[in-house]
Symmetry: C2
Subunit: 120 residues, 2 copies
Protein backbone atom coordinates (compact mmCIF):
# COMPACT_ATOMS: atom_id res chain seq x y z
CA UNK A 1 0.00 0.00 0.00
CA UNK A 2 2.80 2.39 0.82
CA UNK A 3 4.40 1.24 -2.39
CA UNK A 4 1.27 2.32 -4.22
CA UNK A 5 1.32 5.73 -2.59
CA UNK A 6 4.98 6.01 -3.54
CA UNK A 7 4.11 5.13 -7.10
CA UNK A 8 1.68 8.01 -7.33
CA UNK A 9 4.17 10.34 -5.69
CA UNK A 10 6.62 9.49 -8.43
CA UNK A 11 4.05 10.70 -10.93
CA UNK A 12 3.23 13.87 -9.03
CA UNK A 13 5.98 16.04 -10.52
CA UNK A 14 5.71 17.65 -13.89
CA UNK A 15 9.34 16.96 -14.78
CA UNK A 16 8.93 13.26 -14.14
CA UNK A 17 5.83 13.12 -16.30
CA UNK A 18 7.78 14.84 -19.07
CA UNK A 19 10.59 12.31 -18.72
CA UNK A 20 8.14 9.42 -18.94
CA UNK A 21 6.59 10.93 -22.04
CA UNK A 22 9.99 11.21 -23.70
CA UNK A 23 10.77 7.61 -22.84
CA UNK A 24 7.57 6.50 -24.52
CA UNK A 25 9.40 6.98 -27.81
CA UNK A 26 12.23 4.68 -26.74
CA UNK A 27 15.17 4.54 -24.40
CA UNK A 28 17.32 7.58 -23.73
CA UNK A 29 20.47 8.25 -21.75
CA UNK A 30 20.84 10.93 -19.10
CA UNK A 31 22.62 13.39 -21.34
CA UNK A 32 19.87 13.13 -23.96
CA UNK A 33 17.35 14.12 -21.33
CA UNK A 34 19.60 16.91 -20.06
CA UNK A 35 19.76 18.36 -23.55
CA UNK A 36 16.04 18.12 -24.31
CA UNK A 37 14.76 19.26 -20.92
CA UNK A 38 17.56 21.79 -20.40
CA UNK A 39 18.09 20.72 -16.83
CA UNK A 40 21.30 20.14 -14.88
CA UNK A 41 22.64 16.61 -14.77
CA UNK A 42 22.08 16.09 -11.07
CA UNK A 43 18.44 17.03 -11.41
CA UNK A 44 17.79 14.63 -14.27
CA UNK A 45 19.65 11.81 -12.56
CA UNK A 46 17.77 12.31 -9.33
CA UNK A 47 14.38 12.15 -11.02
CA UNK A 48 15.37 9.04 -12.93
CA UNK A 49 16.41 7.41 -9.68
CA UNK A 50 13.05 8.31 -8.23
CA UNK A 51 11.22 6.76 -11.19
CA UNK A 52 13.39 3.68 -11.00
CA UNK A 53 12.68 3.16 -7.31
CA UNK A 54 8.97 3.46 -8.06
CA UNK A 55 9.27 0.67 -10.62
CA UNK A 56 8.31 2.81 -13.59
CA UNK A 57 11.60 2.77 -15.49
CA UNK A 58 14.67 0.62 -15.63
CA UNK A 59 18.24 1.55 -16.43
CA UNK A 60 20.89 -0.34 -18.31
CA UNK A 61 24.50 0.63 -18.48
CA UNK A 62 26.12 0.40 -21.88
CA UNK A 63 29.65 1.63 -21.74
CA UNK A 64 29.75 5.00 -20.08
CA UNK A 65 26.07 5.65 -20.66
CA UNK A 66 23.04 4.72 -18.67
CA UNK A 67 20.05 4.08 -20.86
CA UNK A 68 16.64 4.37 -19.28
CA UNK A 69 13.45 2.91 -20.63
CA UNK A 70 9.90 2.38 -19.42
CA UNK A 71 9.52 -0.74 -17.32
CA UNK A 72 6.50 -2.62 -18.59
CA UNK A 73 7.14 -5.63 -16.39
CA UNK A 74 6.44 -3.80 -13.18
CA UNK A 75 3.52 -4.57 -10.94
CA UNK A 76 0.06 -4.50 -12.55
CA UNK A 77 -0.84 -1.05 -11.25
CA UNK A 78 2.37 0.47 -12.58
CA UNK A 79 1.76 -1.13 -15.93
CA UNK A 80 -1.80 0.17 -16.09
CA UNK A 81 -0.64 3.63 -15.12
CA UNK A 82 2.00 3.73 -17.82
CA UNK A 83 -0.61 2.67 -20.33
CA UNK A 84 -2.94 5.38 -19.10
CA UNK A 85 -0.24 8.01 -19.37
CA UNK A 86 0.62 6.91 -22.87
CA UNK A 87 -2.89 7.96 -23.84
CA UNK A 88 -3.15 11.17 -21.86
CA UNK A 89 0.27 12.80 -21.85
CA UNK A 90 0.48 13.47 -25.61
CA UNK A 91 -2.50 15.82 -25.22
CA UNK A 92 -0.40 18.35 -23.35
CA UNK A 93 1.29 21.11 -25.28
CA UNK A 94 4.53 20.92 -23.32
CA UNK A 95 4.78 17.20 -24.04
CA UNK A 96 4.44 17.83 -27.76
CA UNK A 97 7.11 20.51 -27.51
CA UNK A 98 9.42 18.14 -25.68
CA UNK A 99 8.95 15.49 -28.32
CA UNK A 100 9.69 17.97 -31.04
CA UNK A 101 12.81 19.09 -29.19
CA UNK A 102 13.87 15.47 -28.88
CA UNK A 103 13.34 14.89 -32.59
CA UNK A 104 15.38 17.98 -33.44
CA UNK A 105 18.10 16.94 -31.04
CA UNK A 106 18.33 13.43 -32.41
CA UNK A 107 18.33 14.68 -35.99
CA UNK A 108 21.26 17.00 -35.40
CA UNK A 109 24.29 14.74 -35.45
CA UNK A 110 26.46 17.44 -33.94
CA UNK A 111 24.66 16.97 -30.70
CA UNK A 112 25.06 13.25 -30.64
CA UNK A 113 28.00 13.26 -28.33
CA UNK A 114 26.36 10.72 -26.11
CA UNK A 115 24.80 8.46 -28.71
CA UNK A 116 26.77 5.48 -29.77
CA UNK A 117 26.23 6.25 -33.45
CA UNK A 118 28.19 9.46 -33.44
CA UNK A 119 31.80 10.64 -33.49
CA UNK A 120 33.20 7.35 -32.40
Amino acid sequence: MKKTAHLFKALSEEIRLRILALLQDGELCVCDLMAVLELPQSTVSRHLTYLRHAGLVEGERRGVWMYYRLLDSGDPLARDLLRLLAGHLPLFEIIRQDRQALADYLADKKHNRCNEGANR
Copy 2:
Protein backbone atom coordinates in the same frame (compact mmCIF):
# COMPACT_ATOMS: atom_id res chain seq x y z
CA MET B 1 -0.10 19.75 -16.83
CA LYS B 2 0.37 21.06 -13.33
CA LYS B 3 -3.19 20.03 -12.71
CA THR B 4 -2.22 16.51 -13.72
CA ALA B 5 0.76 16.49 -11.38
CA HIS B 6 -1.52 17.74 -8.64
CA LEU B 7 -3.95 14.95 -9.38
CA PHE B 8 -1.27 12.35 -8.81
CA LYS B 9 -0.10 14.12 -5.68
CA ALA B 10 -3.61 13.81 -4.32
CA LEU B 11 -3.29 10.04 -4.78
CA SER B 12 0.16 9.84 -3.21
CA GLU B 13 -0.97 9.51 0.40
CA GLU B 14 -2.16 6.28 1.87
CA ILE B 15 -4.94 7.92 3.87
CA ARG B 16 -6.40 9.53 0.78
CA LEU B 17 -6.37 6.21 -1.06
CA ARG B 18 -8.19 4.65 1.87
CA ILE B 19 -10.78 7.42 1.80
CA LEU B 20 -11.34 6.92 -1.92
CA ALA B 21 -11.77 3.19 -1.41
CA LEU B 22 -14.40 3.80 1.27
CA LEU B 23 -16.24 6.20 -1.00
CA GLN B 24 -16.38 3.54 -3.70
CA ASP B 25 -19.20 1.97 -1.68
CA GLY B 26 -21.19 5.20 -1.67
CA GLU B 27 -21.21 8.66 -0.18
CA LEU B 28 -20.11 9.27 3.39
CA CYS B 29 -19.99 12.26 5.68
CA VAL B 30 -16.93 13.48 7.54
CA CYS B 31 -17.89 11.92 10.84
CA ASP B 32 -18.41 8.52 9.20
CA LEU B 33 -14.86 8.66 7.92
CA MET B 34 -13.56 9.87 11.28
CA ALA B 35 -15.11 6.84 12.95
CA VAL B 36 -13.90 4.27 10.45
CA LEU B 37 -10.40 5.63 9.99
CA GLU B 38 -10.03 6.68 13.63
CA LEU B 39 -8.55 10.02 12.69
CA PRO B 40 -9.19 13.49 14.11
CA GLN B 41 -11.76 15.61 12.34
CA SER B 42 -9.34 18.23 11.08
CA THR B 43 -7.23 15.57 9.43
CA VAL B 44 -10.15 13.96 7.63
CA SER B 45 -11.54 17.28 6.51
CA ARG B 46 -8.17 18.44 5.21
CA HIS B 47 -7.68 15.32 3.09
CA LEU B 48 -11.20 15.59 1.70
CA THR B 49 -10.50 19.18 0.73
CA TYR B 50 -7.35 18.02 -1.01
CA LEU B 51 -9.26 15.37 -2.94
CA ARG B 52 -11.96 17.86 -3.83
CA HIS B 53 -9.46 20.36 -5.21
CA ALA B 54 -7.94 17.60 -7.30
CA GLY B 55 -11.33 16.90 -8.82
CA LEU B 56 -11.61 13.37 -7.45
CA VAL B 57 -14.53 13.84 -5.07
CA GLU B 58 -17.37 16.27 -4.61
CA GLY B 59 -19.13 17.36 -1.47
CA GLU B 60 -22.76 18.19 -0.88
CA ARG B 61 -24.14 19.76 2.23
CA ARG B 62 -27.32 18.25 3.59
CA GLY B 63 -28.25 19.97 6.77
CA VAL B 64 -25.30 19.99 9.11
CA TRP B 65 -23.52 17.23 7.27
CA MET B 66 -21.21 17.31 4.31
CA TYR B 67 -21.55 14.22 2.20
CA TYR B 68 -18.65 13.32 -0.04
CA ARG B 69 -18.75 11.05 -3.04
CA LEU B 70 -16.50 10.14 -5.92
CA LEU B 71 -16.68 12.62 -8.78
CA ASP B 72 -17.09 10.66 -11.98
CA SER B 73 -17.67 13.74 -14.08
CA GLY B 74 -14.17 15.07 -13.61
CA ASP B 75 -11.65 15.31 -16.40
CA PRO B 76 -10.95 12.14 -18.42
CA LEU B 77 -7.70 11.32 -16.63
CA ALA B 78 -9.31 11.61 -13.20
CA ARG B 79 -12.14 9.37 -14.35
CA ASP B 80 -9.73 6.77 -15.69
CA LEU B 81 -7.70 6.88 -12.50
CA LEU B 82 -10.75 6.33 -10.32
CA ARG B 83 -11.71 3.41 -12.48
CA LEU B 84 -8.21 2.00 -12.18
CA LEU B 85 -8.24 2.38 -8.41
CA ALA B 86 -11.60 0.67 -8.19
CA GLY B 87 -9.89 -2.41 -9.57
CA HIS B 88 -6.64 -2.27 -7.65
CA LEU B 89 -7.43 -0.93 -4.19
CA PRO B 90 -9.63 -3.83 -3.03
CA LEU B 91 -6.57 -6.06 -3.31
CA PHE B 92 -4.96 -4.42 -0.30
CA GLU B 93 -5.53 -5.90 3.10
CA ILE B 94 -5.95 -2.55 4.81
CA ILE B 95 -8.64 -1.57 2.34
CA ARG B 96 -10.57 -4.74 3.10
CA GLN B 97 -10.21 -4.03 6.81
CA ASP B 98 -11.49 -0.49 6.31
CA ARG B 99 -14.50 -1.75 4.39
CA GLN B 100 -15.29 -4.25 7.11
CA ALA B 101 -14.96 -1.53 9.72
CA LEU B 102 -17.32 0.62 7.68
CA ALA B 103 -19.84 -2.20 7.43
CA ASP B 104 -19.67 -2.79 11.17
CA TYR B 105 -20.02 0.90 11.86
CA LEU B 106 -23.04 1.28 9.59
CA ALA B 107 -24.70 -1.82 11.01
CA ASP B 108 -24.45 -0.55 14.57
CA LYS B 109 -27.28 1.95 14.84
CA LYS B 110 -25.89 3.32 18.08
CA HIS B 111 -23.11 4.89 16.13
CA ASN B 112 -25.35 6.58 13.64
CA ARG B 113 -25.29 9.95 15.28
CA CYS B 114 -24.41 11.57 11.98
CA ASN B 115 -26.69 9.59 9.68
CA GLU B 116 -30.05 11.08 8.93
CA GLY B 117 -31.79 7.80 9.66
CA ALA B 118 -30.93 7.70 13.34
CA ASN B 119 -32.02 9.28 16.62
CA ARG B 120 -33.77 12.14 14.96
